[in-house]
Subunit: 325 residues, 2 copies
């Protein structure tokens, strides 16, 4: 029997489902709409049907599979309670216990576990990726926001209430840029993809740089991919965006090291495709801010999870991690 | 038989030794000079003699004691290696393995363990103090510097290399006040006892406040106790020092919560004697900077360790913690 686990990634628009083998390969996948009707019971029923038909689909290809459990990554997903609690971008209001509800549909599975997507990504890195064998590391996910998942002594840090690890909302610059959350000067406001866009316009206006390749884009249309493309063509503004983003990220990472002294910090998400453009200034900045005792010890590494499947794969990894215990 | 553990606190000038019962009471204590001769073997020999004579002294009072182990708190003490590594303020250069050396003198003890003083204080709080039963909390020690010890899932966070938890050296204000370590804008540069003194002079010059009770003290003589006394007499500058210190500390604590979501943050050290003067603005500031999901959840509590004996008691607590495993 080939052991597999099911990974579910609940986003604001879609819910992706995949069945993943022990090496982190997605064997089959599917998705359903994350509904806006707010009826959680109906959603779970639809989700269960989708899971079952995916399992049937896999069994046609490979009848020798054993499903060990379901891992779920969801915004405001609480590992301890098994509930999605007051998620801002989902139609299910209040506290909805997804683990308990799914358990009624799948009573015989070894594990059904929930956490948020950044924690799931950290577990994915630990089970399938570059953090195999590491007991202390941190995962940062750069996208619309900045997410983080921390592993200490081999376990995810959930904190007292299940919601630890919002490092994207630590204060980088007191009274700095407004963050999407309402706070000021958060890491996320500088180092997310939209933070990079803000930095690009900050530099355009600072240098009044009409000759930049970025100068003919509207605020709405500019994205981090365009900044990358311009940087590759040697555009000074675009290059400075990466420099500054790295400076800020490195400052944030130096705090992370002073807290946790991890073996490595992993970076996941769109901007990491820029490679040295982002990794070099980040590393240089982090080293600059570290106490001597930490210098030249902490690796900054690209995530080894495949971008497209990372959310499903990370969620599925929660099952293997849970069954280790 | 009454079970006891030995706590050793190694400071730059003195090494304090105490024998502590399971309730955290120091039964007997003594101290020897921490030598400046740099001969580690000779120091360990002197220390062992002092330990043995303290044990003999206790046995005269109470013959029914069983010594379970020795816990050591020392600057740059590494829990994993058992060595003091490159301590800046001690005469022993390089890496000196104090656990191994002491073990040759005390081969039969259940545990000989080392860490730094802030981690030891955290364990002391967990074993004897206000953090009993807590699995996730953070300890901040305010003194000449700002130390920190973190407990996650019931264990101290040592990180990959044994040196995690230098939260006093996270950056509060980029390019801010120079810190004693050479960095800029660190929490310690604002919230330590000497940080408070710097704030006092910052405010004196800002308001050109010749009428302040603090205005007749030289830079060298002003200390945090004088600031407290002036605040109790209603001195506006002194009161604002506490307000501002609390603002900064609360900003730092909000980062701590975004990282670790602890049940409580404990404060230890001189400035905490000011009670509400420091706790109220700290709490208000922390709440202001927290994401909504963390608001009104995290307690800020005074340490329950007795100031004079805390270092010994914290070190001794490491033994009970170690033997729990």
């Amino acid at each position: 029997m080939k052991k597999v686990s099911i990974g579910i990634d609940i986003g604001g628009t879609n819910t992706a489902i995949g069945i993943v083998d022990q090496d982190g390969n997605v064997m089959v996948k599917d998705s359903i709409a994350t509904p806006d009707h707010g009826d959680f019971k109906r959603y779970i029923s639809d989700l269960s049907i989708a899971i079952n038909s995916l399992v049937e689909k896999l069994k046609i290809i490979n009848s020798e599979i054993e499903i060990l459990g379901i891992g779920i990554g969801a915004p405001s997903g609480n590992y301890y309670s098994g509930a999605i609690e007051h998620a801002a971008n989902l139609s299910f209001k209040g506290i909805v216990n997804i683990v308990k509800f799914l358990r009624t549909h799948f009573p015989d599975l070894g594990a059904i576990v929930l956490t948020n997507d950044a924690n799931a990504a950290a577990v994915g890195e630990m089970i399938y990726g570059g953090a195999k064998g590491m007991k202390n590391f941190v995962m940062y996910t750069l996208g619309t926001g900045v997410g983080s998942g921390m592993v200490v002594n081999g376990d995810v840090v959930y904190g007292h209430d299940g919601f630890a690890g919002e490092c994207g909302h630590t204060t980088l610059v007191p009274d700095g840029r407004p963050c999407g959350c309402g706070g000021l000067g958060h890491l996320e406001a500088y180092c997310s993809a939209s933070g990079m866009k803000r930095t690009a316009f900050e530099l355009l206006l600072k240098y009044n740089a009409n000759d930049s390749l970025l100068a003919d884009k509207s605020y709405k249309e500019l994205d981090s991919k365009m900044i990358y493309d311009a940087a590759m063509k040697g555009d000074k503004i675009a290059l400075e965006v990466f420099e500054k983003t790295g400076d800020w990220l490195g400052l944030g990472f130096s705090d992370t090291v002073h807290y946790l002294s991890p073996e490595a910090i992993f970076l996941f998400g769109g901007p990491t495709a820029a490679g040295d453009l982002i990794f070099k200034p980040t590393k240089a900045s982090m080293e600059k801010y570290l106490l001597p005792m930490y210098k030249d010890k902490v690796k900054i590494l690209p995530s080894e999870l495949k971008p497209g499947d990372a959310a499903i794969v990370g969620a599925s990894a929660m099952v293997w991690k849970e069954l280790e215990k």
